[in-house]
Amino acid sequence: MFANTLFLLSAVLTLAGAVLVVYSQNLMHACIYLLASLFGVAGLYACIGADFLAATQLVVYAGGVIILMLFAIMLTGGTGNRTNKYGLEKIPAMGNKKTFMIAAFAAIVSALIVIKVTIPVFQNNKNLIVAANAPTVERIGTLLATDHILAFEISSVMLLGALIGAAVISRPRKEIHD
């Protein structure tokens, strides 16, 4: 009962958020809807006993990525629609009818792909095993430190690289401003 309710709420949150990200015409709102959707995904993780994942999802996405996004939006001039000195739109429109038509086409094609790929999953797994819920943190820790140590290290190096890279790239350089 509780799990069902949680699942329903999270699913609705996720889907509504995702759909609103598509629907919203305001970048700032889209970002907030994305946050809602990510919260929903965390809830969905929680429903299937992925406690560590849920926590990570919340911390990394809600605490990190979305904040970053919001900063980026604000640093690039908020959501106002103005023209820059080249006569280009500073903050371009969030797509129009034409782009949405194209997007719908692409979405249909990719939907077909996903459906095609997913159908065997259902055909081959008629009676699925449902693993019991158990705390995962310890086991994930063990796995990360043993089996997946290489990937773990590489990802840490990658994060470091990303950190430095981001800082270097976005560093303001005066000489460009003419």
């Binding site: 069902n4 990719s110 077909l112 792909i113 095609k116 065997p120």
Partner: protein, 721 residues
């Protein structure tokens, strides 16, 4: 007396025929229409009074008269399905009929004075007749379906009467709000009816009681894969009907706005009868509420309503608004009564409240009519100008505040006493008891605040005061008020003055109310199973058995020891109520007569809360601005836009466009490929490939992505797993 078509049906049919006749008469002969309406309701009163005497003098508790006739019959072949209508009269019905007809008669009489300047004088009576017939039909109903029919008819009358002054912009909003808000409850009520109909096979109370006794309501109910116990769902659905009609939190928002209607209709519909119909329904379905284990919920809804509405009433300046919120609050007490199992007292409060609230509204109407103003800060000192109105209102304020010897004390105190008893037995009810007593304090305060502001002190607006008409005694202006105000004495409802058995004037035998009305205990429900349908016709086919007349049971069916304890607690509660009532009155006195306590100080100290009160706890804002304006309407616009501009335009008309493309392609094929394509195909193809490749290498990342998807898609889609 015999219960046949000719003796019972006139109660409903007299006002109904008055309505039908007046629809045609109202325009042409307004005065005749008014007379017909008023006489019709008086006729109903006579019939109802006969039934009441019969029940009061002859029958036992638990005796009921139930007669049915076929409304329509769908039986065909082996399918049997029949819908019956009928009348169900027991003690509660008899009392209720008497109250409704009596109050309605007095209000009709008063309206002949109050409305006679109005250009739609007769039309008002058309609606009033329809309303009273619907209300009486509801009271006489033997089943939930006909109850629902009359219930909605009353909703319609209420809609029309709130929108009576339809030129005003607010009237339209208020009437629509009232109809829609109660409709929310009604939808649930209809669901409850459907559940009962499915489980019981009919909707008559008798069959439902029997089914509850036989335990047919066990089992569960699946919606969206969630299993809910069926009795709880049914009870909750029916109770939602009560919440809508009786303006319980959180769908109480319509009642204050309903005051847009003329004052006599506010008195009849939005104070005395229609709003009480919700409570009446819950009392009728009490066994279901009990079977659904919903009583705690009900008690808390009632307590929140009683207290919350009382707090809002504290700062209202419009005299009708104060009365409106006090109505919500008092209805909350009745609902508390249901929730704490205080069946008898809850029903008694319904009756006493109907009397004193009708009187209060009529008095307010009298004030408004004489000074043409509703704002209390502009009144003051009217005591000298309107002595009779003042007297009536004073008695009513005593009654509603719960001063001993008045009816409000008798009934409300029993409810609160029972709440206290229950709280001592079951700690989860403490909230109910505390909110109930708190609400009582506030009630005493705001009612006397209203009284003092209106009638005492110096006139604050001399222009209004000087133009006020002097009041003279008149059969249709203030005699109805005085009659009603006499019946605010507790003595008419209980042989003792206080309802506690402390001071017995006529001996305990005269506790007619407690004797007549008994809670339908679960163990008694079985006897409804051995019941046969009697035809409602020209003759009475009942077995004329003489049942022993009901006797007053001092212990209310409890054992000696427990009853003693309960009595003790009741005494405690009574003392507490009296203290609370007097302290509320005293506080009002200090603030508004003696002026030794400055109300402004309180307003400033609790400024935040005051703002919340002024906005009625933001419910209107939430429902109208947030949910409807921001949620529902944009959603509808989106759907409509989807329907006409996307679905219709692209999908449906798109097929036509496809068709056009198809023949364009065919024509193109014919012209270009067959005609000229074959000739200079080579050069053109090279140019075409060139063009395509150049377009693809545009540097636009989204295009790359689409190409990626398409290629990947065509690859994967051709794979066979």
């Amino acid at each position: 007396m015999d219960y046949t078509i000719s003796t019972v049906a006139p109660i409903v049919l007299l006002p109904f025929f008055a309505f039908v006749i007046n629809v045609f008469l109202a325009k042409r002969v307004p005065l005749a229409a008014v007379a017909i309406s008023t006489l019709a309701i008086f006729g109903s009163f006579i019939c109802a009074f006969r039934i009441f005497l019969d029940f009061q003098n002859v029958y036992a508790v638990g005796y009921h008269i139930h007669k049915v006739f076929t409304w329509f019959d769908l039986s065909a072949g082996e399918h049997l399905f029949k819908v019956n209508m009928g009348i169900y009269i027991d003690n509660m019905t008899a009392v209720m009929l008497l109250m409704v007809t009596a109050v309605a008669t007095l209000i009709h009489v008063f309206s002949t004075w109050y409305m006679h300047d109005d250009e739609r004088f007769a039309r008002f009576f058309v609606y009033m007749s329809l309303f009273t017939s619907a209300m009486l039909g509801l009271v006489l109903s033997d089943n939930l379906l006909s109850m629902f029919i009359f219930w909605e008819l009353m909703g319609f009358c209420s809609y029309s009467l709130i929108g009576f002054y339809y030129e005003k912009e607010g009237a339209g909003n208020a009437s629509m709000k009232a109809f829609m808000t109660t409709r929310v409850g009604d939808v649930f009520f209809l669901l409850g009816i459907l559940i009962c109909w499915m489980i019981v096979g009919s909707t008559t109370f008798v069959d439902i009681y029997a089914a509850i006794g036989a335990g047919k309501f066990a089992g569960s109910f699946n919606v969206f894969g969630i299993a809910l116990p069926i009795a709880t769902v049914a009870a909750f659905s029916v109770f939602m009907g009560t919440m809508g009609k009786s303006a319980q939190f959180p769908i109480h928002v319509w009642l204050p706005d309903a005051m847009f209607g003329p004052t006599p209709c506010s008195a009849l519909i939005h104070a005395a009868t229609m709003v009480a119909a919700g409570v009446y329904l819950s009392l009728r379905m009490f066994p279901l509420m009990e079977a659904g284990h919903l009583l705690t919920f009900i008690a808390y809804i009632g307590a929140i309503t009683a207290f919350g509405a009382a707090t809002i009433a504290l700062i209202q300046t419009d005299i009708k608004a104060v009365l409106a919120y006090s109505t919500i609050s008092q209805l909350g007490y009745m609902v508390i009564g249901i929730g704490v199992g205080s069946y008898n007292a809850s029903f008694m409060h319904l009756i006493t409240h109907a009397v004193f609230k009708a009187c209060l509204f009529l008095s307010a109407g009298s004030v408004i009519h004489s000074i043409h103003c509703q704002e209390m800060p502009q009144m003051g000192g009217l005591r000298k100008k309107l002595p009779y109105t003042f007297f009536a209102m004073l008695l009513c304020c005593f009654a509603i505040a719960g001063v001993p010897f008045f009816s409000g004390f008798v009934s409300k105190d029993r409810i609160l006493g029972d709440a206290l008893v229950l709280a001592l037995e079951n700690p989860s009810y403490w909230g109910v008891a505390i909110l109930g007593f708190g609400g009582a304090l506030l009630t005493a305060f705001y009612m006397f605040r209203m009284l003092f502001l209106t009638f005492f002190g110096e006139p604050r607006d001399h222009h209004i005061y000087d133009h006020a008409h002097e009041e003279h005694i008149g059969w249709n202006s203030n005699v109805p008020l005085l009659i009603l105000s006499v019946f605010t004495l507790g003595l008419f409802y209980s042989g003792s003055f206080t309802g506690q058995g402390e001071i017995n004037l006529f001996g305990s035998k005269n506790e007619w109310f407690s004797t007549l009305i008994h809670k339908p205990e679960a163990s008694h429900l079985e006897h409804f199973a051995h019941y046969e349908h009697e035809d409602f016709g020209a003759t009475d086919t009942r077995d004329k058995v003489e049942l022993p007349k009901a006797q007053y049971d001092e212990n209310h069916g409890m054992d000696e020891h427990h009853a003693h304890w309960v009595h003790q607690i009741h005494h405690l509660g009574a003392i507490l109520s009296i203290l609370i009532a007097f302290s509320g009155i005293f506080m009002a006195y200090l603030m508004y007569i003696k002026k030794s306590v400055n109300p402004g100080w309180w307003a400033e100290t609790f400024a935040g809360w005051r703002r919340a009160l002024q906005n009625k706890y933001y419910f209107d804002d939430l429902y109208i601005n947030k949910i409807i304006q921001k949620g529902l309407l944009p959603f509808n616009d989106m759907l409509a836009k989807f329907d006409s501009q996307y679905y219709d335009k692209y999908v449906v008309d798109g097929t036509a466009v496809l068709n056009r493309w198809a023949f364009n392609v065919a024509r193109w094929f014919d012209n270009n490929i067959i005609d000229s394509g074959m000739v200079d195909g080579t050069g053109a193809s090279v140019r075409a490939v060139n063009l395509i490749l150049r377009t693809i290498q545009s540097g636009k990342i989204q295009l790359y992505f689409i190409v990626l998807i398409v290629v990947l898609g065509s690859y994967i889609l051709t794979l066979r797993f």
